[in-house]
């Protein structure tokens, strides 16, 4: 099993100039939801140039296709055309599992999610900040996905959203 290190994973994407927004469970945790999840989900911009940079980043990450029968991954020749051909890629990398979600359910993808995303610090030394989807958008996506696993987290996410709103009304909170 690869050593779980989402910061290292995100750092490689950023160093390659990939435009992406963090979504899913890790985004929800960064927004304050006390979820325990190992899913690192990112929604990349779908421009040809960005997919080219993404393909290079995936090579640097040692990314392979993750399948139920082969959890160590299957080699895939990732290139912009291949990446654009699927709505989701489940990958295993040198730093853990990475899911590329081209258009998260219930959203219009990167451009749509970026409207309410914030750039949040994920590491201090060396500093790294990435775009993280709003909690409302994470909820919207999980509501639309219809998966039991996603539905199960919704009460906690909604409660977190309520508490975030309350704490913001008492003073700016939670964003850095």
């Amino acid at each position: 099993m690869a050593d779980y290190d989402p910061v290292a994973m995100l750092r490689v994407l950023t160093q390659h100039g990939v435009e992406y927004v963090l979504v899913g469970g890790v985004a929800a945790r960064m927004r304050g939801a006390p979820l325990v999840t190992r899913d690192v989900d990112v929604a990349p911009a779908m421009t040809p140039g960005n997919l080219d940079r993404l393909a290079q980043a995936l090579e640097a990450l040692g990314a392979k296709l993750r399948t139920a029968t082969d959890p160590d991954g299957v080699d895939m020749p990732f290139d912009p055309g291949l990446l654009a051909s699927a709505s989701m890629w489940t990958l295993v990398t040198d730093h853990g599992d990475l899911d590329l979600v081209m258009e998260p359910a219930g959203t219009g993808g990167y451009r749509d999610l970026m409207r309410d995303a914030d750039r949040l610090k994920v590491a201090v030394r060396p500093e790294l900040a990435v775009d993280v989807a709003s909690l409302a958008d994470v909820i919207r996506s999980k509501e639309a996905s219809g998966r039991d696993k996603d539905r199960a987290t919704l009460p906690l996410l909604r409660r977190t959203l309520e508490e975030t709103a309350k704490s913001r009304s008492e003073g700016d909170h939670g964003l850095q």
């Binding site: 099993m1 890790v26 945790r29 960064m30 304050g32 006390p34 610090k121 994920v122 009460p155 964003l175």
Partner: protein, 132 residues
């Protein structure tokens, strides 16, 4: 004082334990692992546990290795046969969730991520130790 939350995680149940300092300890637990844990604590063999349950050692071995998944009644009976009671209780999740949410909101995003990474790594270590 501990609170338990069960979250579906494929075949396993993730049990999160929180102590009074709100430190989180998490373990992947299946019915089979619970039976194995009770049996080992009782210091008895699979064959001895099987005899107490009126079944064969290979059945207990299949539960413990996850090749077959015992249902809840069987887990309760097996744990009791090993000399323990399986205490299960329902508690209101909301208040506990609220405390956890407020604790998270008092942290900065990178601190939240760091704690998540720490928890997942502990889980991975526990799973690896369980398979070792």
């Amino acid at each position: 004082m501990c609170a338990l939350r069960h979250e579906g995680a494929g075949e396993a149940i993730v049990i999160l334990l929180y102590d009074q300092s709100q430190n989180c300890y998490a373990i992947f637990m299946t019915g089979g692992r619970l039976i194995a844990e009770a049996r080992k604590r009782a210091g008895i063999t699979q064959a001895e546990l099987a005899a107490r349950l009126g079944t064969h050692q290979s059945v207990v071995a299949r539960w413990e290795t996850g090749r077959t998944r015992p249902d809840f009644d069987i887990v309760q009976r097996a744990v009791r046969a090993a000399g323990f009671d399986l205490g299960v209780s329902l508690s209101p999740a909301d208040d506990h969730d609220l405390a956890l949410i407020r604790r998270e909101l008092d942290r900065r995003p990178h601190e939240r991520l760091a704690e998540l990474v720490d928890t997942v790594r502990k889980l991975d270590s526990m799973v690896a130790a369980g398979h070792g």
